[in-house]
Symmetry: C3
Subunit: 135 residues, 3 copies
């Protein structure tokens, strides 16, 4: 089973969408299976991160800002704006796809795990995510 | 099919558990399939790395220690200890899930590939890993 | 269904092989499914990246060259050459496996997404990649 959803972002940062995914999985009434989450972009990515203290996702975004900064003079690819090449690097360092087992009808996430779109561009975007569920 | 296992860790570093996974896969007598390995934490992660020279995993752990150090004054999230925010960063840079095809009844690993829990916290932990096998 | 392919590399850099994968998937005539791509190495990896401007993959390779340089005196593991330990690090920072949903008989890639082997060794290599398709 396939489901497509759109995550609207408003600049760099992590956007949780665990609830939307969980609701779709629950609606499928599958006891045991495998969920795949795939983002159809190379300047935004996926991460599973702590869902408790919001400082964690702020610190995480800041770390990637320092690791692959906008103003690096090494970049050749600058025509799409100063945030584009760092966005590709940050995407390569995180995930384009996630695989999550389904147990007892729900994702087998740990207590503190949330699912996020990690937006790497500065402007607002609509990010397309494909969910695939095997029962 | 689902299986849950616990990997006990004793501080930062890489802990191999290829054998436990291989034994479970072998017991299922599936010729061709797909194995998913999922760790239910955001301060420990999964990596596939060289299983021959133990210096590789030591160097790898050291690299991450330098890349996301404990004493970075930028971190907001410090209440869970100096090792916690670096642990989240290192998890985001590595894997929460791994997908490994099964061929001829066993994981299609290369000769030098081993499966590791990458522990990012300083103290001992019990890490929950979920295995899912589709035949 | 399983398929094995070999990607020949000629030194560090990103080598596209989207077409080979797409052709195999198309030949299987599966409307909806899940494709897994697995590389059987720890000194080369997989990434999904932009397929339009070739400067992106050049900049990406350069970034990893700076992030995990060859001449880092911290490395213990040096017997396989100065490019080997950086290769393991760069592999750990990118992907050993990718999961891509199949919709309408083809991979659900975004418009700008291409699939690459990311070669981290200096010399020519033959890299073994396993494709697994569930329908």
């Amino acid at each position: 089973m396939i489901h497509q959803l759109e995550v609207k972002t408003r600049g760099k940062g992590l956007y949780p969408f665990t609830r939307e995914v969980a609701q779709w999985v629950a609606s499928k009434k599958i006891a045991t299976g495998l969920l795949t989450i795939f983002i159809q972009h190379t300047s935004a990515s996926l991460v599973i991160q702590e869902n408790a203290d919001p400082d964690v996702t702020l610190d995480l975004a800041d770390f990637f800002e320092r690791l692959a900064p906008e103003d690096d003079p090494h970049y050749r690819h600058t025509t799409e704006g100063p945030d584009d090449m760092p966005a590709h690097i940050r995407s390569a360092l995180t995930q384009t796809s996630l695989s999550i087992p389904v147990m007892d009808g729900r994702m087998a996430l740990g207590t503190w795990q949330g699912i996020y779109v990690f937006e790497h561009r500065s402007g607002p975007q609509r990010r397309n995510v494909v969910l695939h569920l095997l029962g």
